[in-house]
């Protein structure tokens, strides 16, 4: 809606002018940006005025809370609507609305977070408050600096994952020295990898970015955010105030200061300008990781840098790994060879890339109308592993292709549509590691922002295990006019508008029913297994839910 500077400057200005009276500032944005937005607003507030942070809850009296704080003319940052169920939201809004006339007697600047999904309801329930606003701003993710918070980190990381696919030829995968680079980078704070031209340095660094991003997504506590930077832009970045990276649109000072950022610098040439920029970066952000590549072994580097010779993949080795030119065949051969590793999810460099590429192959085939039977067999090994979620992407992509007129009645469609991949995978991750991990699994896998929204909504559903969450999801999915894709996804998941979803795990029950209703003879063994698995998981959820309640 507005640039970062103007949003926060406007809030600050309004807060200043309302001193000695009442200022009501409404702030909206994507639902999960509330906390970060208010924290960023807080950073821009004028110093000297006391700040109160309050969270709306049922029976919470905002006016009373401000009075009891005994702080003169405070700035009050109010969260809470974003965490409440829709029915509770109305209660909270009614409660705030009820207090509106008492606001008039206040000397305070109230900054109220209203999730974007709630704006219309807020307008309905708090019509006067809406009209009384001193300011109403929308904050977008790009208005916010990267924080150490999980939400912004995940957003950024998710954008990094998979970018290699647009940037490099798939056939390079098997011939990049990524394994060596990956091992070295794991324990290197500042390092320079050198290799002759054509050794695959750039490709390896791009893949490293992908791997590091995935790894960070896989680990709640690891906060390394990789960023691929051509050395030609080093000077521009090193001197930027505040610290910005090209294309991010937001400052990343705090990430750099805290050591969360790892810049992967591609193709250092050793010019004085580069050396100065590197030295500046090292001084400015001592904790920030810097990994660079280049051709020259004896390149001048700041103190404390490690050097490593990146060995090109030997031609003989490469040819044994890559025996054919066809990228599709290359990938399938790798899959055949590494099946055991993939199926057991053992760490293997480039696993993710291979699987994604495989997914792309499959999607391409699906777009043509069918998948050959032998290829289906090759996908089969994914069942029952965490990588099973790859089929989610296939499914969604396939459904998307339906909209473009591809075949609708293939055996494959039945097979893919019969599988509730989002749910099953999230369920597995949830069972094994908890809801946050389920979110991570989904968000790491689905890549596309639209899928990310679906994924996070689904995990939310699981986390809360209540009917409103399911309804919320349905609403978000179905009523989002801008995204027919998610509508179709919602339909696939059995989340029809009229579904009566009492608990989140009812979705599993729906999925089970869908599987049970499949025509006989359609991969019976798998169907029976999945039905049993879902039923077991439903029971587990039930018992856990009962236990909690």
């Amino acid at each position: 809606m507005a640039s970062e500077a103007s949003v926060f400057a406007r809030i600050r200005r309004t807060v200043e002018l309302s001193a000695g009276g009442l200022g009501l500032i409404l702030v909206t944005g994507e639902d999960d940006l509330g906390y970060e937005s208010l924290e960023e607003i807080w950073r821009h507030l004028p110093v000297g005025r006391p700040v109160l942070r309050v969270r709306l809850e049922p029976d919470f009296d905002l006016v009373d809370a401000i009075a009891k704080s005994a702080r003169p003319d405070p700035i009050v940052l109010v969260l809470g609507l974003e965490r409440a169920a829709p029915s509770d939201r109305q209660k909270l809004e009614d409660a705030v609305n009820l207090q509106r006339d008492r606001f008039s007697a206040l000397c305070a600047a109230i900054v109220l977070w209203v999730p974007k999904s709630e704006i219309l309801q807020f307008q309905r329930h708090c019509a006067d408050l809406f009209h009384w606003r001193s300011l109403f701003v929308e904050i977008n993710a790009e208005d916010l600096p990267l924080t150490a918070g999980p939400v912004s980190r995940r957003r950024f990381l998710a954008a990094q994952v998979g970018r290699w696919a647009q940037e490099m030829d798939l056939r390079l995968i098997a011939s990049t020295p990524i394994r060596q680079l990956s091992r070295w980078s794991a324990h290197t704070h500042r390092g320079y990898a050198f290799a002759p031209a054509g050794a695959g340095k750039t490709a390896a660094f791009r893949l490293l970015r992908h791997e590091m991003a995935l790894e960070s997504l896989s680990d709640l506590f690891q906060v390394v955010v990789p960023y691929f930077l051509p050395a030609s832009r080093l000077r521009e970045v090193a001197g930027s105030q505040p610290f910005r990276l090209p294309g991010t649109g937001f400052p990343v000072d705090r990430w750099a200061e805290s050591g969360n950022l790892c810049i992967l610098i591609d193709d250092l040439r050793g010019s004085q300008e580069e050396q100065d920029a590197l030295a500046l970066l090292c001084r400015r952000f001592p904790k920030m990781r810097l990994l660079a590549n280049g051709r020259e072994k004896a390149l001048a580097l700041p103190d404390g840098w490690e050097r490593m010779r990146l060995e090109p993949v030997a031609k003989g080795t490469a040819s044994s790994e890559v025996s054919v030119e066809d990228a599709e065949k290359v990938l399938l051969e790798i899959v055949d060879r590494e099946r055991a590793l993939l199926a057991s999810s053992l760490p293997m460099p480039a696993t993710e890339q291979i699987l994604e590429a495989l997914g792309e192959v499959a999607v391409a085939s699906l777009r043509k109308g069918s998948i050959p039977a032998d290829r289906l067999g090759q996908f089969g090994f994914l069942d029952g592993t965490p990588e099973f979620l790859r089929r989610t992407a296939l499914l969604v992509s396939y459904e998307e292709s339906q909209g473009s007129g591809a075949s609708k009645h293939s055996e494959q469609r039945v097979r893919f549509a019969a599988t509730p991949p989002f749910l099953l995978c999230a369920a597995k991750a949830l069972a094994a590691r908890g809801p946050r991990d389920a979110a991570r699994v989904l968000s790491a896998s689905l890549l596309h922002p639209r899928y990310w929204a679906v994924a996070s909504a689904l995990v939310d559903l699981w986390r809360r295990r209540s009917s409103w969450a399911a309804e919320e999801l349905v609403r978000a999915l179905i009523e989002d006019e801008r995204s027919p894709l998610v509508e179709r996804t919602a339909r696939l998941l059995g989340l029809g508008r009229s579904s009566r979803l009492n608990l989140g795990n009812d979705v599993l029950v729906l999925a089970r029913h869908r599987l049970e209703s499949l025509p006989g003879g359609t991969r019976d063994a798998e169907r029976v297994r999945l039905v049993a698995e879902l039923a077991t998981y439903s029971r587990e959820l039930d018992s856990r839910h009962d236990g909690h309640s």
Partner: protein
């Protein structure tokens, strides 16, 4: 802070869209062309039991019109002016019997203010009559005497001007006592004994407080908060209770009453007056015939609103606005008083920055446009596909489709504005001009 910057800080508070004109600020009231208050004032003596509803957009000045009416008739009538938003939490859920009870309670407050003694048996009669219409499941939670304390009046402090702020705080607290109201009564039948008792108790109070030949006049503000069409129909159309009071009564009503179906239903019982917005630009609808003089009159009236507020600080319009800037603001307000105030309010922080930076000391046209753009973006955040489609419909047809939630929402929230010139037409708010193709 530089004096210029300080001035903008003051004006920011002066042009506060939250403030409605209280009776002590009547010097700020500006009569608009064809003012409803004056029209009703002229009709009341000829219709001693008449019932009026003033319907208009949010922020169009309904409350100010009621205050103005009460003030104008203060000497001739005993004014019982019930402020529902200050009295109850959920105006939108009030039932006719609850409103009737609150009118009685307001009458008791008026008596107290006038130091008129009301026998306890009359108060008890009101309480017990109300108890008779309560929903049995909620009756245990209702304390009628507490409810009597929780009622708020407006046009009540003429005798003690200057107490507006204090009374505002007190009234807000008092409303907590009436928190139970809003759907606390059971459904009743017309002519039911309990209802007749309640009506009788209220009539008795109104009779007692007007002993000196000043007949009672009931003003009820706040029913314009009701959004649900069913509730509006039920309150003003299906139930005849509000029309059965002997005293002349004037209610503020929601803008959706202007939709033709409701207008007809309610018009059978009440005299419906449209508080349309001031015409500040020539209507886009080709079928609307309008004397250009009318536009000029409208703009002049709004200019007076600004002038009067500034005059309190010995400031002239030309001290604060470049002439083309104020014209721009008048056009963008759509003739809605609150929006006019809101736009000027938004200009103040920008002007404050400008003054702090040592540049222009007035609101010039670029600055006014910047403030208008801010507000436009705020409205834009709340637009949905359905709302945009409805706005296009209004622009094309000069009236709401009346079809569904989006249509009502736009009317109720002031995105669609009514105007009148013999006949009524509607326009999208000028702030929404150009936010989407076709608008």
């Amino acid at each position: 802070m530089a004096p210029q910057a300080e001035r903008w800080k003051i004006l920011f508070q002066v042009f506060d869209p939250r403030q409605r004109l209280s009776e002590v600020q009547q010097d700020l009231y500006v009569s608009r062309p064809g003012a409803v208050a004056d029209k009703v004032r002229q009709q009341i003596p000829f219709e001693p039991t008449g019932k009026w509803i003033i319907a208009g957009s949010l922020g169009s000045g309904k409350s100010s019109e009621l205050v103005h009416l009460g003030r104008a008739l203060w000497d001739d009538y005993t004014i019982v002016a019930l402020d529902l938003p200050f009295s109850v939490a959920r105006v939108d859920r009030l039932t006719p019997t609850e409103i009737l009870f609150l009118i009685g309670a307001a009458g008791l407050h008026r008596a107290k203010a006038e130091m008129i003694s009301v026998p306890n048996k009359v108060k008890d009669a009101l309480s017990s009559a109300f108890a008779g219409v309560l929903d049995p499941t909620k009756a245990g939670h209702v304390n009628a005497s507490e409810l009597l304390q929780g009622v708020a009046l407006f046009v009540s402090n003429l005798a003690a001007p200057g107490n507006a702020a204090a009374s505002g705080a007190a009234l807000g607290a008092a409303r907590l006592a009436t928190g139970i109201l809003g759907g606390a009564t059971r459904s009743v039948r017309e002519g039911e004994l309990a209802v007749a008792d309640l009506l009788g108790a209220v009539e008795e109070i109104l009779r007692l407080i007007a002993p000196d030949g000043r007949p009672p006049l009931v003003l009820v503000d706040g029913l314009d908060k009701i959004q649900d069409r069913g509730a509006i129909r039920s309150l003003f159309g299906e139930s005849r209770l509000l029309s059965q009071l002997a005293a002349p009564s004037v209610y503020s009503g929601p803008i959706t009453l202007m939709l033709s179906a409701l207008w007809k239903t309610v018009g059978d019982v009440f005299r419906c007056e449209r508080l349309t917005n001031v015409v500040v630009r020539h209507p886009p609808a080709s079928w609307v015939e309008l004397d250009p003089q009318r536009v000029e009159e409208g703009r002049l009236a709004l200019r007076h609103v600004v002038e009067r507020r500034l005059a309190r600080f010995s400031l002239g319009v030309e001290d604060v606005f470049a002439s083309d800037a104020l014209e721009e603001i008048l056009s963008s307000s759509g003739g809605v008083l609150r929006d006019l105030v809101h736009i000027v309010n938004r200009c103040c922080p920008l002007a404050h920055d400008q003054a702090a930076g040592g540049s222009s000391t007035r609101i010039d046209r670029p600055l006014a446009r910047q403030a208008i753009e801010e507000l436009r973006k705020e409205l834009e955040i709340t637009l949905t596909g359905k709302r945009v489609a409805e706005l296009r419909y209004v622009k094309e047809n000069g009236e709401p489709s009346g079809d569904g939630e989006a249509s009502d929402d736009l009317l109720l929230n002031g995105y669609v504005l009514p105007y009148a010139n013999g006949r009524v037409w509607f326009e999208p708010h000028p702030l929404l001009s150009g936010v989407r193709p076709g608008l």
